[in-house]
């Protein structure tokens, strides 16, 4: 129920409180102490680099950067006049102190690669020296984990920055009510607005309140009643409902990763490629997308989603052709491996043992729906799926030990190096797939400095993965965000984060 002015344009105003309802409360606002950053605290931090809307790496806190030809040194020049929330200027020394703390204590410190040292050249110039080339570094430097923190605060509070978080992002913390909400206010001296936003300075609203409501329905009701302007993570089943509401705008962005059905490739049954491919052939992605996700996803066949540089449309098309649902083909692959339907119960057997696989799923309702659909689809080729619901944490902790048979899991990253994390030597904690050829390609891609060359390597790697089918990529989720009564809200198409610079409340 907004009032429209005579010329049909809703008037926007400065100031006001924007309420965002979000699902998960950040563990902490100290980004160097967590493995989880999302929209609820991303805006606190200003990384050195960022992606533009096309996926190119562009300067952010850094004015410019340069990679040496041997790939061992990356040098940055900081923008003039950037300050942390406390007013402390962002200097090379500050960056060094912050990164040292990061390396020492962040659970994600591996992101910085084989860093030898940080050399401060002058107030605004510094160099990262690596012991060997580390290609993913630039993409990693776009992520909040690697954003510098305020050394004045670190000095004072070193261990626990939870209540005093200070970085150089567009918003700063105003109040934290644990278990309930975090309130942010625009950082008044912010001047690092990216190229793709109109306003380069501080945001103009008064405050943003992130309220954390894990219950989907409650979150929805709050939003529908207008108690909140932004609803994050709209559950798929509410999309239709919200689309029908003229006051509501939905923003959909593809995730930086996909949901996949992962095999534990160490298990004897999955060392048989026929079985893996048969399962891949039995899956009907569009049904999953349409009915478990209410259409808010895009089916995917290849290893990388379009949102990660390194995605290749050709690979995707090849994969899609290879693994388009084909029940007959799946059945014959199974038969080739000795699994046939004999006893009339619809399930295939070999040596009297039915092909029955346990699938680990988290408690998330959507995942559970997907699992049920998968269960139905695999049943059509005679494979029995036993759904076993595990806590998120259990899966994280147990899957590296290889106790699972199959899991429904997801990944998200900004760089194709994720493939190394998934299949690299000793790193394949979810699918336990080790292929020397693949590993050597992936390792090479980590040290190659030239982007084109690197992308070519990734394409090669992807082809192997498609052929070998150590997992079944299912779909790329759409992150759906709903907002109302706002103007100027943009979502970054690659990272999916909210761009706060231009956001204004409608009157």
């Amino acid at each position: 129920s907004e009032t429209e002015t005579s010329d049909g344009q809703a008037e926007a105003s400065e100031g006001g409180t924007i309420v965002v309802t979000s699902v998960r409360e950040p563990d902490t606002v100290d980004v160097q102490r967590t493995t989880w950053v999302d929209d609820a605290n991303n805006h606190l931090y200003e990384p050195l680099l960022r992606f533009d809307f096309d996926g190119n790496i562009v300067p952010a806190l850094a004015e410019s950067y340069e990679v040496s030809t041997d790939g061992l040194v990356v040098s940055f020049t900081l923008k003039e006049g950037a300050t942390f929330h406390t007013g402390t200027p962002v200097t090379s020394d500050a960056v060094k102190i912050s990164f040292e703390r990061f390396i020492e204590s962040s659970p994600t410190s591996y992101m910085i690669g084989p860093l030898k040292e940080i050399k401060v050249i002058d107030d605004r110039t510094f160099e990262f020296h690596f012991s060997e080339p580390f290609a993913p570094f630039l993409s990693n430097a776009t992520v909040s984990y690697l954003a510098p923190l305020d050394p004045s605060v670190i000095g004072e509070y070193s261990e626990d920055l939870t209540d005093v978080a200070s970085s150089a992002g567009i918003l700063k913390v105003s109040e934290i009510k644990r278990g309930s909400s975090i309130t942010y206010v625009p950082y008044e001296n912010f001047n690092l607005g990216p190229a793709y936003s109109e306003n380069k300075g501080a945001a103009t609203f008064d405050e943003v309140v992130f309220r954390f409501i894990s219950d989907d329905d409650t979150r929805l009701l709050e939003f529908k009643r207008g108690n909140s302007q932004i609803m994050m993570s709209v559950p798929p089943n509410y999309i239709k409902e919200l689309e029908a509401d003229p006051n509501v705008t939905l923003e959909r962005t593809l995730a930086n990763g996909h949901v996949y059905l992962g095999f534990n490739n160490q298990k004897p049954i999955f060392q048989d490629k026929n079985i893996r491919q048969a399962i891949a052939l039995a899956v009907d992605r569009s049904t999953i997308v349409d009915f478990a996700l209410e259409g808010s996803a895009q089916p995917i066949y290849g290893p990388l989603p379009p949102t990660i540089p390194g995605y290749s449309q050709t690979v995707e098309d090849e994969a899609a052709a290879k693994y388009a649902r084909d029940l007959e083909e799946a059945k014959s692959l199974l038969a080739e491996s000795g699994y046939t339907e004999t006893n009339g119960d619809g399930f295939v057997v070999k040596d009297g043992k039915p092909l029955s696989i346990e699938l680990w799923v988290t408690q998330e309702p959507t995942m559970q729906r997907i699992a049920q659909v998968l269960q139905n689809q695999l049943k059509e080729v005679g494979i029995e799926i036993r759904i076993s619901v595990q806590e998120d944490a259990t899966i994280r902790a147990q899957s590296p030990e290889g106790v699972h048979e199959m899991l429904l899991w997801t990944y998200g990253w900004y760089d194709a190096d994720i493939l190394n994390s998934m299949f690299g030597r000793g790193l394949s904690t979810r699918v336990h797939y080790q292929n020397d050829e693949l590993i050597s390609i992936l390792e090479k891609a980590r040290v190659v400095v030239d982007t084109d060359e690197r992308m070519a390597l990734y394409e090669e790697a992807q082809r192997i993965i498609v052929e070998e089918a150590p997992w079944v990529p299912l779909f790329v989720r759409e992150n759906v965000l709903a907002h109302r009564d706002l103007e100027g809200l943009k979502i970054h198409p690659i990272t999916g984060t909210i761009i706060w610079s231009d956001v204004k409340l409608k009157k």
């Binding site: 100290d30 219950d215 409650t218 009701l221 806590e391 902790a397 994390s421």
Partner: protein
């Protein structure tokens, strides 16, 4: 009287000790390594070992328990694996909401329950009795989450007079308190009724009647105090159940209480938090029952001199 209290305090201490052992074992029997969880799966062996010794996980179980117990005695329930915050602080942050919620529901439940119970007992075997008992049975039988959904749909969505979720002062607690209070009132009503009926049969009630006491005084002056003795125990137990029942209610109403903290902690396997919470709630429960017991001896003079 003080002897009685000392005795109760001692058994309470014993119980607390048992509770702490169970809680401790529970957490340490869990499969899965907290260290992997904290550091993530890419952590180096060295880091793992370092953290292990920091957390004392390399010591034997008995020592670990004593360290834990020592901490507990000093009010230190450890730090969360996830947030790195002190568990006790986290709980203290969250407890006001849960506590208020439990207290309000208990007040609602007790008032409604005791009144229903009195009506049912005084009008035994009439339609009032049957109605009151049916109401209380429905209160007991209806799943809490279902009542919550129903109330939200009705009073927040269709007729928006209450906030749907979140905590914004006492007003936000009305629907959750009703949700929780309903089940409680059912239990209390039934207990009040049967206890009242029992008391009405007692000889001293006949004595009071023979004195010429009127019906009102008979019920409120003579019967109620006796009848409330078992009801008060029940209220004590209910308080504990309310704290636990808050888990469901807080989840549905998105209240920042210890119930929702518990669910989050379980989902993330944040064992120090789970451990701290369980210990804390058990502690609360025991303390409340202790208070109830002592309060008891005030209304039932027989206990004082036991």
């Amino acid at each position: 009287m003080s002897g009685y209290i000392v005795k109760r305090l001692f058994t309470t201490l014993l119980t607390l000790l048992g509770v702490s052992i169970i809680v401790f074992l529970m957490v340490h029997l869990i499969p899965g390594d907290p260290v992997t969880y904290i550091l993530g799966e890419f952590a180096t062996e060295e880091a793992v070992n370092k953290l292990k010794s920091e957390l004392g996980l390399d010591k034997n179980l008995l020592i670990q328990y004593f360290v834990f117990l020592l901490g507990v005695i000093q009010g230190d329930l450890g730090t969360s694996y996830i947030t790195g915050l002190s568990v006790i602080e986290e709980i203290i942050n969250r407890i006001p909401v849960t506590f208020q919620l439990a207290v309000f529901s208990l007040i609602i439940g007790s008032i409604v329950g005791i009144l229903l119970g009195i009506i049912a007992a005084v009008k035994q075997n009439t339609i009032f009795d049957q109605l009151a008992m049916l109401i209380s049975l429905v209160g007991i039988s209806a799943p809490g989450f279902w009542i919550a959904l129903f109330l939200i749909y009705l009073f927040s969505y269709l007729i928006p007079i209450f906030p749907i979720s979140g905590y914004d002062g006492i007003y936000s607690l009305i629907l959750p308190s009703i949700t929780l209070g309903l089940g409680t009132s059912g239990n209390i009503a039934r207990m009040t009724r049967s206890s009242m009926l029992e008391v009405i049969k007692q000889d001293y009630m006949r004595t009071a009647e023979a004195k010429g006491v009127n019906v009102f005084q008979l019920i409120f002056g003579h019967a109620l105090q006796n009848a409330l003795i078992p009801v008060i125990t029940l209220i004590g137990i209910q308080f504990g159940n309310l704290l636990a029942g808050a888990v469901v209610t807080e989840t549905v109403f998105a209240l920042p209480g210890i119930g929702s903290l518990a669910i989050d902690a379980i989902a993330t396997r944040d064992m120090p938090t789970v451990q701290g919470l369980v210990l804390f709630m058990a502690f609360m429960f025991i303390v409340v029952n202790l208070i109830v017991d002592i309060f008891y001896s005030v209304i039932d003079p027989r206990i004082k001199y036991e």
